[in-house]
């Protein structure tokens, strides 16, 4: 972000960087930057906090009044603590014990299919309330997302559509699967922290077992793009 600030400012356009990693901003010295104490992925703070978002935005834009730079200021507010609000959060559906690493591929597919079906009312509620969904980057329906992710794992690795499974198509399908689960999980009223939702997904669902199975499947692949998928692009470092 700070690198782009140098380019645009040098081209004659005044810039303001919102900074999430203060150390990077200090090193790169963009003209104007506002460091915010929010988690990665949330540069303007938690969702559905419009007043806080506005305060961040106004603070950042007012750095344009500085007569010279570089300017780096710290936003003075922390994200509101939501622990008390999320104590009531429970998984919106009661899954059976999730599939494990030893589950046969067909059984794993059926387990994830069942979870998708059980989450569907919650996913649809989230869609209706928000009027949008982030599911869809793969271009597949959620049922086809599951089928696509299962192709490499099924016994017939020479299945007719195996060639259609590239590292990129699998990555995007994995993103859609995760988004479907987490959008459904956050459909209930009230607030829940990202850590709670991610812990639920990565520890209590067969959906995550499927992604870990793919990660293991490609760990020693001859294809470097699939090895990269396995190493970095399916499971976050915090859950590895």
């Amino acid at each position: 972000m700070s690198g782009l600030a140098h380019v645009f400012e040098a081209a004659g356009i005044p810039t303001i960087v919102v900074s999430l990693i203060r150390e990077h901003t200090v090193k790169m010295r963009p003209p104007r930057a506002l460091w915010v104490p929010f988690e990665l992925g949330r540069p303007f703070g938690p969702p559905d906090q419009p007043a806080l978002q506005t305060r961040v935005l106004e603070h950042a834009l007012r750095l344009l009044a500085a007569p010279s730079g570089p300017v780096l200021e710290d936003f003075p507010e922390e994200a509101p603590h939501s622990a008390s609000a999320e104590t009531g959060w429970t998984c919106p559906v009661l899954f059976r014990a999730p599939a494990t690493a030893g589950t046969q591929q067909d059984a794993l597919r059926l387990a994830v299919r069942r979870e998708i079906a059980m989450l569907r009312p919650w996913y649809e509620r989230a869609l209706a309330v928000r009027g949008r969904t982030s599911v869809g980057v793969s271009g597949l329906s959620i049922d086809d997302v599951l089928e696509h992710l299962c192709v490499p794992l099924l016994a017939a690795s020479s299945a007719p559509n195996a060639a259609a499974c590239t590292a990129d198509s699998l990555r995007l399908a994995a993103e859609d699967l995760k988004a479907y689960f987490t959008e459904a999980a956050t459909a209930q009223p009230g607030t829940v922290s990202s850590a709670t939702v991610l812990h639920w997904f990565w520890h209590d669902t067969s959906g995550s077992t499927l992604l870990r199975a793919l990660q293991a499947h490609f760990a020693d692949s001859e294809d470097p793009t699939l090895r990269l998928l396995s190493a970095l692009l399916l499971v976050p470092r915090s859950q590895a």
Partner: protein
């Protein structure tokens, strides 16, 4: 929360060790009072219109986010798994605060909101993005932008 000390150790080390280009000087452009400025957002969240080509590894390009684009048409194809997406899923303004920017324009805090906004994908190195950004600058200037909010993810 984005303090390195609050992150899982492997992610904190990865971020601390990331090479950052250094700059001996910092460019600086002045402009009119905020109430007269036209503001655009450039995000590095890998945002794009639904159905457009997705961002992939090393992608140094940008995607255009037309101000008229409904929120329901904006998706994210950033390659990193190491940041929260649940906030974005619940509220687009968490990463792309266009609604808030429009409110500031309506209150007269800023002059106006640009017609077009843009997204890069921040896992690409700054050096690789620089030529594309230089090519984008004239488009922003043609839109009258004199305040550019650069939003990470």
């Amino acid at each position: 929360m984005a303090r390195l000390t609050d992150l899982p150790p492997s992610l904190a080390h990865h971020l601390a060790d990331l090479e950052c280009p250094t700059h001996d000087t910092t460019p600086w452009v002045n402009g009119p009072p905020l109430s007269g400025r036209r503001v655009a957002i450039v995000s590095t969240a890998g945002l794009q219109r639904r159905g457009e080509p997705t961002f992939d590894l090393g992608d140094s390009g940008y995607r255009i986010l037309d101000g008229d684009l409904p929120a329901s048409d904006i998706v994210m194809s950033h390659i990193s798994t190491n940041f929260d997406r649940t906030g974005f899923q619940q509220d687009l303004n968490v990463v792309f605060p266009l609604d808030r920017l429009r409110e500031l324009a309506a209150r007269g805090v800023i002059g106006s909101v640009a017609r077009f906004h843009y997204s890069f994908m921040g896992a690409t190195t700054p050096e690789a993005m620089a030529p594309t950004a230089r090519a984008l600058a004239p488009l922003l200037q043609r839109d009258g932008v004199d305040a550019l909010l650069l939003a990470p993810v």
